[in-house]
Symmetry: C2
Amino acid sequence: MSRCEQCIVREFSALKALNKDELLKLADCKTSYVVKKGEVIFDEGDHLDGIFCVKDGVCKLTKLSSNGKDQIVKLVTRGELLGQRSLISEEPTNLSAIALEDMTVCFVPKSQVMDFFNENNKFSLNMMKNVCHDLKEADNILVNLAQKSVKERLAATLLYLHDTFGVHEDDSLKLHLSREEISSIIGTATESCIRLLSDFNKSGLIEIHGKKIILKNKKELRKLAE
Amino acid sequence: MSRCEQCIVREFSALKALNKDELLKLADCKTSYVVKKGEVIFDEGDHLDGIFCVKDGVCKLTKLSSNGKDQIVKLVTRGELLGQRSLISEEPTNLSAIALEDMTVCFVPKSQVMDFFNENNKFSLNMMKNVCHDLKEADNILVNLAQKSVKERLAATLLYLHDTFGVHEDDSLKLHLSREEISSIIGTATESCIRLLSDFNKSGLIEIHGKKIILKNKKELRKLAE
DNA sequence: CTTAAAATATGATTTTTGTCATACTTTAGT
DNA sequence: ACTAAAGTATGACAAAAATCATATTTTAAG
């Protein structure tokens, strides 16, 4: 059982409000485990008995639409918590969480979270701020989906992937997403996404080498994304 | 100064967690006032020094997109609170609030909200649940915008207006929105919306009598909206 | 190493949606 | 009651995006 006190990623989430005593309690009740790429952490409609803290790796939060397609609502990475909304609302999850890379996650049982919640004001305020931040983000994405073209959304998404997950030594995007997954972020048909990537490639905005995507002209992409 | 103790609408929001003492404090510090149809309660980017409680009437929360069009993100009605996210996040507002009807709203200063917040656990939990509910709703709308056609979204929106705001004696939708505002909910060009409403009218799904819209075939509309 | 399956790519075509033009109707203000 | 302005309606057309078909490439499994 690893010590939470020495875990760096807790600094990035609401857990940073916990004191030494609380961290010991946390270490005592949490379960740490590995999730392989493609594995489901939880499914839309699942009842959760706790929250997950992402120690390493990235996952997608998706929702199945009635047209049979999955929409990616959010990408969650190292340091972030999963399942907070469901826990607070005391409702089944609204979204599925699926690993995009091999991950390490810690599961913290509901009872412990609720204890922190009731006894540590800073913790609950932090958690609340996280949900508020997610709400703001969701509203912004909602507006972009409603008002911007697929091309604009693709440009914005490429920049987001660049800025959020960084690049390899060769400048190619670190987070690997299939074309279908990129389409599922911007809300379009896979073929349309592939075609636009191809256009961006031809016009020098990006370079595609197999799986690798390199943003060659971020300035122009930014202008496109507005 | 009216007594909050006797105000029914507080029962619908986080304020229902307040006890008698707290309600007296609330009555003491709140400001109640009238907002005329079309008036702005707050603007995107405004710094708020408190939250608003909607006593009567309906308003829209909108965000201006870079294409110059406003997107309606949410409709807020009697009993709901405005500006919670901004207050908790300690950030300027992300959305504008504009009255769709004449409204009565109460303004509660930040200091008082924060006091309740720190002293009344039930209150803060309620507030948190509200934000969580908003997040879930936003995620759902986001998926619909990304995955459904304009026609499906229009059908869904008409049903939403029917179910949420009710109908007059003649079965026409109670909440009056301009065609432009309906378009701004579903995220489409005004002309497209007008054309589709016209189609719905011709095919007997709805009846249009000037401003009035009557849903004639909810079953079929529901099927359309999926 | 081979092969089937999955992912990527591209063309052809259709459907959906947006834009521009214009006409008609309603509303609000004098 | 009159008039300008705003809102609603509709046609014609253009642009965006989806769908279907079909290669080609990459990946994973035996």
